[in-house]
């Protein structure tokens, strides 16, 4: 029941107006989702991953605010061409927030959600493959955990 000012950066507005890699791609190797309609924030990533475990193509769809759209868009640009190992190790929500020129504090969760969705995709990919690389920890990454917490909280509140 409180509002806070949202002075978005130029980069956020640019990406909001002209998102990169938006929409579905054909025959994705893996898709992943974070958030849900109850959160008012939901991102779906579609990834095409090649035999060398490199992100060959990636696109997104986003149900959410400008920060949500911008962070999802920047993530697609950041990890395209990266190996999954490198993505897992280098992609953090802080990096995403920095790349969009900063976010108002109340919007950090958008970066967390976007990174959480990517990390879920990586996990899902190896699950589909049936073999897990040694660098992939069993324990959830912090962004995966926080995405889960947000989803559970919104579900709980919306059922009240």
């Amino acid at each position: 029941m409180s509002r806070s000012p949202l002075p978005y950066s130029q980069k956020v507005i640019d990406l909001f107006r002209n998102p990169k890699n938006q929409g579905k791609i054909k025959n994705p190797t893996v898709t992943s989702v974070a958030g849900n309609p109850a959160c008012g924030d939901m991102i779906t990533f579609y990834l095409k991953i090649n035999k060398k475990d490199v992100v060959e193509k990636i696109s997104f769809e986003s149900y959410g605010c400008a920060a949500n759209i911008a962070t999802a868009s920047i993530v697609t640009e950041l990890i395209k061409g990266m190996s999954l190992k490198e993505t897992w190790n280098k992609l953090t929500w802080r990096k995403v927030v920095e790349e969009v020129g900063g976010l108002p504090n109340v919007k950090s969760h958008c970066g967390i959600l976007a990174v959480g969705a990517v990390k879920r995709a990586i996990r899902k990919y190896y699950q589909q493959k049936g073999s897990f690389p040694s660098w992939l920890p069993n324990e959830l990454a912090s962004e995966e955990k926080q995405a889960l917490e947000e989803e559970e909280l919104a579900e709980k509140l919306s059922r009240k």
Binding site: M1, S9, R17, P37, G40, S62, L157
Partner: protein, 407 residues
Amino acid sequence: MVENVKELIKAHEGIKHEVYLDNENSTMVPNEIIEKMLPYYNKRSYGNPTLTHKPGWEAFETIMESAQKISEFIGAKILEEITFTPGATEANNLALLGSILSKKNSGKKIVISEIEPISIIRVTEMLEKFGFSIIKIHVDDKGFVNLEELQEQTDKDVVLVSLSAVNNEIGTIQPLKDAVRIAKEKNPNVIFHTDASDAYGRIGLNVRDLNVDMATINSYKILGPRGIGALYTKEGLEIDRILEGQIGTQRLWPGIENTPLIVGFTKASETVFQDFEKNINHVKVLRDKLMDGIFGNLSEVILNGPKNEKRAPDNLNISFLRCEGEALTIELSLRGVYVSSGSACSRRLLQPSHVLVAIGRKFSEAHGSILMKISRLHTKEDINYVLDELPKAVNRIRGIVGSTGID
């Protein structure tokens, strides 16, 4: 962060037309009202109304005449029943806290509805910490309070009932007269307050006919200046001050009276009541045109609140499904259409508007809600422009959503 805002504002360069529909959250003040106010800053009535010199007596005269006019507009008995406050938030705080303070030894229950404005809800949350129990009457799917529940709940321990006359978000016109009668029949000692900010200047409002003890009204909601509102307190009702300081012409609100704002508020009231029927009809015709146009041009839209004469004439609140509200407000802003949303994304917490949740909207429906309020300054051209831009904006946002977010 201010640098960011400069860029955001710059991003709007080249807009062909601008339509401000966020009259819920702040309004532009017409020139005629500003011009009426200006002389009161440095030409006349700039004195303190309690002091013994000409500018002081002028201020006294101005304030008394203003209070007299406002008291007449709401059907009050005498001008002393009007207390000017810095706004509706302050008037609501004064009404609730002031009456509780003066009734220290009465009951410990307060009755409100679940769709009251934030200031009412927050004050009752504060009173809860001091041992009061707060009862929130439920509303139906159009936002009407359940009168049976009101009767049931207004027992002898209830000291205060506060129900707004018109809901600020979804425009529901409450059966206030019935609510007052029911509450007072059940407990004659109960104090009845109404936040009438969204009724004043929109629907007929007569405090004596309604038999309320206190009523809040607000200047900016009728295109007067911000920073001024008023609380009506029925003659003989005892309520305490909630702020202490130098008492001037107003027993219930200390500090130096803000004469120019009082003048602006009064002028705004005169303007709206001068041609009341004509003004309201103009607003209603444009609101209906906007509503019909949206429902005719877009699918997956839901009206929030009642559709008939039980809806305030200026209010339009629509949920655009598969469309997140904050993203839509920004997209519309870049097209020169300024609105607000009940989405959680424009708020601190995940919960969307408590009003929309109370009328049974799913979170996903509430997140896509847009609130628009028409004023007498709007024209047919404005509405046509909105009707051109809105579908483009909704479709672009829905394009980004794709198949994500389908419930």
